[in-house]
């Protein structure tokens, strides 16, 4: 196995030496380098390929936020992590775009190891370097202007409602992903697992949401010409799948965390499709055409064309953003749940079924990402007899 290459940046040499000693037991897995300033870090990055860069925030000259902006520009496929003692909100807002994950000092080796290992392992999902570069450079997902506008109006009103802000954000895949990234990382306060977008909004507080809204390009990303018509149906479909996945999890008596994860994963399951649709609409359409021609499922068409399907693209992005594992797993495998490493009823089960049923009740619409229920997978879980009940939920939801 090749060793992972990680670059640590901190203006305090004693911190770097401490990290070197701390990570000494992992020297077989990781090759660690150090830089005492942003400039030195950029030099090292240009000399050799790194899997991840972990930087302090407050440094004289170029600070962590500036450094990561630069790394994003020059080495988009490198995972970008902040390890900071303390920084003010303004700096953190500035870093919220280019930073994949935010850790605070003091940080134990377990958290550090887990974060880095996961980020690096996820990279294996995307075998093609060009795709890795594309996804790595994303600060956010493409977002729809209308929701943004409504959100802005609500936030600027004299007495904004927490609930309404939560509802608006959950209608938008991009903003949902962003607030989850922020609460799951320690951007603003301690990292926290949440069960819903509203809870995330509550954790962050309206002030932070408002500041994020005003920080350029944190909440909405670039969209290529002709992408909008591809993006819009994904939005409606995601909303439906999120709601249905929650209901399925609830019907199975899953605990609140699983229900919440199912809903969030449902809302985010096509994040990868959004990325592909917004950035390469031509190829995205082509993948569908290839699938039709060869009579294979659409995700298989994507694998042929991109070397990965949209589930993997989404999972990679959400993974390096520090979104919790059950959600990332559900996103990654929502078209082929049987290949997932976990067993039993998981958010993946709910999302896979909800996604397939959504297509079923919608009829064969070409603009959405067609899939069908993997009955063998359900059979193995002993849940096949539940399918009709779930189908009923889907029909009811469609009617509502």
């Amino acid at each position: 196995m090749t060793r992972r290459r990680v670059l640590f940046v901190d203006d305090e040499p004693r911190v770097l030496r401490g990290l070197r000693r701390l990570l000494d037991p992992m020297r077989d897995e990781w090759e660690i380098s150090f830089a005492e300033s942003g400039a030195e870090a950029l030099d090292k990055l240009s000399e050799a390929e790194f899997d991840a860069v972990v930087t302090d925030m407050r440094m004289p000259g170029m600070d962590g936020a500036e450094l990561l902006h630069e790394v994003l520009r020059r080495h988009p496929h490198t995972v970008r992590i902040v390890l900071s003692g303390q920084s003010d909100q303004e700096t953190r807002l500035r870093a919220a775009g280019p930073t994949h994950q935010f850790l605070t000092k003091p940080c134990d080796e377990e958290t550090l190891r887990r974060t880095l290992t996961r980020a690096c392992d996820l990279r294996d999902l995307l075998r093609r370097d060009s795709l890795r570069r594309l996804v790595g450079q994303l600060k956010t997902l493409p977002s729809l202007g209308t929701v943004q506008r409504d959100l802005r109006t609500e936030l600027m009103s004299p007495d904004p409602s927490m609930r309404k802000v939560g509802d608006l954000i959950s209608q938008d895949v991009a903003m949902t992903a962003k607030v989850l990234q922020l609460v799951n990382s320690s951007f603003f306060g301690a990292p926290k697992r949440v069960g819903s977008v509203s809870e995330a909004v509550l954790m962050l507080g309206l002030n932070v949401i408002r500041d994020l809204m005003l920080t350029e390009s944190v909440f909405g990303a670039y969209m290529a010409d002709g992408a909008l018509e591809l993006v819009e149906p994904i939005r409606d479909h995601s909303d439906f799948v999120g709601g249905l996945a929650y209901e399925i999890a609830a019907a199975e008596g899953a605990d609140l965390q699983v229900r919440g994860d199912a809903q969030l994963a449902g809302q985010l399951h096509d994040a990868g499709a959004l990325v592909l649709a917004a950035n390469m609409p031509m190829e995205f359409r082509k993948a569908a055409a290839v699938a039709r021609m060869r009579n294979i499922e659409r995700w298989q068409g994507e694998v042929e064309l991109f070397g990965a399907d949209h589930g993997e693209v989404g999972a990679y992005l959400l993974g390096i953003w520090g979104i919790p594992d059950p959600i990332v797993e559900a996103v990654a495998f929502h078209h082929r749940p049987a290949q997932a490493p976990t067993h039993g009823f998981t958010p993946l089960t709910a999302v896979h079924v909800a996604d397939a049923l959504a297509h079923e009740v919608d009829g064969q619409d070409d603009s959405v990402l067609v899939t069908s229920v993997d009955e063998e997978y359900l059979e193995r879980l002993g849940l096949l007899d539940r399918l009709d009940g779930w189908r009923l939920l889907a029909l009811k939801r469609k009617a509502a």
Binding site: E12, R14, V15, R17, G18, L19, R21, L22, D24, P25, R58, M59, P60, G61, S84, G85, Q86, S87, D88, Q89, E90, T104, K105, P106, C107, D108, E109
Partner: protein, 567 residues
């Protein structure tokens, strides 16, 4: 304070009764006065004289007409038989003169005159009688008639003469009354200001006794004007232009008030005008504002201190974990060495034990440890020292918020504040201290003083940070020296400097050029309050845009110096 304008402070008016002998006009009278058509006037050259005869019989009117015909004046004579008709005609304001024929000189006539005056104050009234006792004539003049003529003695020239003079006299009387009344209105307006003022206003004569006080003064000092006038001033001597006093409120709780005095005159004599303002609420607000600013600076310090502590915590923890790992690697090696030693002492060398020792020694990686371990200890001890230093400085800085002045070691105050604020400056500047060795302790409120030093350091750091296109490290110089009865502390930076147009505002509350989130604009204003008002010191700034600024704090070492500073 919602007093009737017509009755500005009954107590005051009572007290001043007799002194203010101006008859107040009624509202209708005031309104009528202001109507332009109510100015009394002569008929101009192309205008006939407009006369209104009041005459029940008609004979006297005809007689008047005949006499008027003999004058060279053009005229028009209207006749009213009864008073109500006459009043209605007069209200139009068209008539120059009223010729009122009176058969019976009695009270009714006087009433009628009064009513005519109310309706048309500008119109002259001539009374014609069959006979006129002197007393009646005088009463009639008192009620506004311009002349009383006996009909039998009247000829054309007398009538013309009387008419002309009456009109002119009426016009002059109008002017005079207007003057008098406007003076009265003006007086009322001033009275209303003084009576409705929330500040207590007192006039004190040269002997220090009260000549006048307004209702606010009555309520502030709990006295009635009638009792207070002529008595000594309720708050004692006026000692300077501006000073503070304490006044108990109705429940006996002390309230703070500020007295501003100015020399004036009262009834032609030199006197002192004292304005006393209750500043208790303002003081409380100022105190709250000071607390808020303190919280703001503590908040930003906390963030900085967290960073200063979190960083060493990170590497100390890393090092300790590393050292634990080294120890865990070494234990088997030493244990193996021990058992080998035992075996060697017991008999021939045991190859198995030797092999075991070889393996565990290799695993211990002595070479690595020899390099890393001493440095790991050094770094950790350094880090602990850093944590201890910042915690110690915080303790000094936080200084139990005493409201009493105590002897403050300025060097310690500066050093600890520089240490706790390290986070503010360490990325942008170097701080140089130049503190006189034998600096005496300064009588001061330690917590407040630290806050001033902190504000100046934060300010200097931000000024350096704000230099456009400049990445060079800045420099902050803090000097403290004794200057006679004063101690002087200067905080200089080579930052952006303060533009001239901002310099005079920088000590104003809420004045800030910083973007939102970087400060509320309270720092310098609060610093000024602390230095000047709470310590009797001075806070000045010298600045050159583009080169930097120097803030100078001077604190008095003695009471005399403090007084001198205040003056």
């Amino acid at each position: 304070m919602n007093r009737d304008l017509r009755d500005p402070g009954g107590a005051y008016l009572e007290a001043c009764a007799g002194r203010l002998a101006v008859e107040r006009p009624t509202v209708t009278e005031l309104q009528r006065l202001l109507e332009p058509k109510r100015r009394g006037r002569r008929p101009d050259d192309h205008e006939p004289l407009r006369c209104l005869a009041i005459d029940a019989q008609g004979g006297p009117s005809r007689e008047m007409a005949k006499l008027l015909d003999k004058t060279d004046q053009r005229w028009i004579l209207d006749r009213a038989e009864r008073l109500p008709t006459a009043l209605e005609a007069l209200s139009s304001g068209e008539f120059h003169i009223v010729l009122a024929h009176v058969r019976q000189p009695d009270g009714q006539v006087l009433n009628a005159l009064q009513r005519m005056r109310q309706v048309a104050p500008e119109t002259a009234v001539l009374v014609l009688t069959e006979f006129a006792p002197q007393a009646f004539a005088e009463q009639a003049l008192g009620q506004g008639a311009q002349d009383v003529l006996q009909r039998s003695k009247l000829d054309a020239s007398t009538l013309a003469h009387a008419i002309r003079y009456s009109i002119e006299r009426q016009r002059i009387r109008g002017l005079y009354e207007r003057e008098l009344w406007s003076a009265s209105i003006l007086h009322m307006d001033y009275l209303s200001i003084v009576s409705n003022s929330a500040d207590a206003i007192l006039i004190l004569n040269q002997g220090g006794s009260v000549e006048f006080l307004n209702p606010a003064a009555e309520s502030m000092f709990g006295v009635r004007a009638a009792e207070a006038i002529g008595r000594p001033c309720p708050f004692g001597q006026v000692t300077s232009d501006s000073f503070e006093i304490e006044v108990p409120d109705r429940e006996g709780r002390p309230r703070q008030a500020e007295v501003q005095s100015v020399e004036t005159s009262w009834r032609g004599l030199d006197a002192t005008l004292a304005v006393v303002r209750d500043i208790t609420d303002r003081r409380a607000l100022e105190l709250q504002l000071g607390q808020a600013q303190k919280l703001e600076s503590v908040g930003r310090l906390a963030a900085g201190i967290a960073h200063e502590i979190n960083t060493p915590t990170q590497f100390i923890t890393d090092n300790v974990k590393y050292l634990r790992g080294v120890f865990e690697r070494f234990v088997p090696a030493v244990a193996a060495a021990e058992s080998l030693l035992e075996a060697a002492e017991a008999g021939p060398l045991d190859q198995g034990a030797l092999e075991e020792l070889r393996t565990s020694v290799a695993a211990a990686r002595l070479e690595d440890a020899r390099e890393e371990v001493p440095e790991a200890f050094e770094d950790s001890l350094d880090g602990l020292k850093q944590v201890a230093r910042i915690v110690g400085a915080m303790k000094v800085f936080a200084h139990p918020g005493s409201e009493e002045k105590t002897g403050v070691d300025l060097r310690q105050a500066i050093e600890s504040t520089v240490a706790v604020a390290r986070h503010e400056w360490r990325d942008v500047a170097d701080v140089e201290l130049d503190i006189e060795e034998t600096l005496p302790t300064v009588p001061a409120m330690g917590g407040d003083l630290n806050q001033v030093i902190l504000n100046l350091i934060v300010n200097a750091s931000q000024a350096i940070e704000d230099r456009p296109n400049c990445t060079e490290r800045g420099r902050i110089d803090i000097r403290a020296h004794r200057r006679g009865d004063w101690v002087e502390m200067c905080v200089s930076d080579n930052g952006v400097g303060i533009p001239d147009e901002n310099r005079k505002h920088i000590f104003d509350p809420f004045f800030t050029t910083k973007e939102v989130g970087r400060g509320t604009g309270q720092g310098l204003s609060i610093s000024r309050t602390i230095v000047v008002e709470r310590h009797g010191g001075m806070l000045d700034v010298a600045s050159k845009p583009g080169e930097g600024s120097t803030f100078t704090v001077r604190l008095p070492l003695t009471e005399e110096a403090a007084l001198q500073g205040a003056a």
